[in-house]
Symmetry: C2
Subunit: 253 residues, 2 copies
DNA sequence: CGAGCGATTGACGTCAATCAACGAATGTGG
DNA sequence: CCACATTCGTTGATTGACGTCAATCGCTCG
């Protein structure tokens, strides 16, 4: 396996800020990445009835907090989020980064409370999906039910990939895997797969990868020295994709 | 948060080997830990109709392999399993240990193929839950649907806890967290929470915790020297639960 | 323009990995 | 039943990767 991630069919990305009064799932350009995959138009309409509310989250603000009552899932429409869990003694761990078309809040189902924080890394907007209603609708439409289950399962598989990364890989391999994941997801959304702008700090990358920010920074510099990529602060440019892939796949020896 | 794990109400454990011809969920002593939580007797009967098949898995054998077609979930009746993912270059990572009442195979939903190996660490038996039928039944019974979603969500939360452990904790803390998790789950199944027999090798523990087997062994020895526990091969005895908890909660400084 | 956060880089320390040897337990075949 | 093989576990010495501490640089935004 190849350090799992959310593979998805391609679709162009949406634009932020100017929020239309009503954006139906049926006309959303993320529908092939999101919950509506496979629904026919009648089903889509029903789903739209449910996803009535939108919410914008300014950069740095929480979409939800750990411990908060769980009532809805959120589909990212525009923007970028991180989720993180924390231990009593103040350590915290970024558990994921979410971009357009990805679902937030699945952790909350288990205990009716959110068990992590979700924070916008740039001005973002989400669709609010009231959870009880989603359960209801997915009892009506087996396609929706199955798609929802697939999304939860995909999250589990992704987490297992991260566990492999955290448990077995060295700093270089972790960062390479992270970059490949990120570019693949961006590519699936119609962006360039070689040029990207990071939405998160070195510290946040480090937290996700189980590294310190200095190590992330040094590893970026090493990649640049080796001609694998160009690094200008958060502006990245992949020069040697195969080289990065080789780093992930070939064991260090 | 406290390095999440599958908390569950208590229930005594079943006995192996002599497999009854028919064991109904309704009379299973794991029903308060497993899928049937909250079902009324009519619903239980329907679920029983679905869970017709049992399977025994001798120690060391696979319940399923990575890449195999996904058709059913498995509920552990007796015994003990590990699940592991592997990368191309041969490294592999234990992603979890499963005991009675826990579900295996959730990773398979996302792609219709299992994405990990499940291996019995002792002679074990499982209930086979055909997945398509489970989806059907959970469209009929919202309680079953909700319980199933909770189980998937719990798996996600558990994985996030492991990510925190792998990303932030030192060897001692990881092992302490692991032991506390294990004893809590055993306790929930009616076993002593101070005495336990490990079903897995040092290497498997190490793989789960992102450590080498020598480090696991050394850390066990240190715990013993410090009077936290008694270690005789795989036979463990917790002497100072609070001491272990302190290790997990208090940052090293 | 200056304050402040984020990023980079260097010197040094630490924890766990690696390499290696040995001991204990379990299982196999003569 | 014992010799032997094999796997699992323990322990020590050394190495190496990443963390820590610290100084500096450079954006970005009031």
């Amino acid at each position: 396996m190849s350090v799992n991630l959310n593979a998805a069919p391609s679709a162009p990305a949406a634009n932020a800020s100017l929020e239309p009064l009503k954006v139906a799932c049926a006309s959303c350009n993320l529908r092939e990445l999101c919950l509506p995959v496979g629904l026919n138009s009648g089903e889509l309409q029903k789903l739209d009835g449910l996803v009535a509310q939108r919410r914008t989250v300014p950069r740095g603000e929480h979409l939800f907090h750990n411990g908060e009552r769980f009532e809805a899932l959120y589909a990212v429409r525009t923007g970028f989020f991180k989720t993180c869990v924390g231990s009593e003694d103040g350590r915290d761990q970024v558990t994921g980064f979410q971009m357009a078309g990805e679902l937030l809040g699945l952790d909350g189902i288990s205990s009716d409370r959110h068990s992590c924080d979700a924070v916008a890394l740039e001005d973002s907007s989400v669709c609010v999906i009231p959870y009880t209603q989603l359960e209801g609708l997915s009892r009506e439409f087996s396609v929706l039910q199955h798609q929802f289950h697939k999304i939860m399962s995909r999250e589990i598989v992704r987490d297992h990939g991260v566990m492999l990364l955290l448990g077995n890989m060295r700093a270089e391999e972790r960062l390479a895997a992270f970059l490949l994941n990120l570019t693949q997801r961006l590519h699936a959304r119609g962006f360039s797969s070689s040029s990207l702008v990071l939405r998160m700090t070195r510290e946040e990358i480090g937290s996700y990868l189980g590294l310190k920010l200095e190590t992330v920074s040094r590893t970026f510099s090493r990649f640049q020295d080796e001609g694998l990529m160009e690094v200008k602060q958060r502006q990245l440019r992949i020069l040697d994709l195969a080289g990065l892939q080789a780093l992930v796949n070939n064991s260090p020896c």
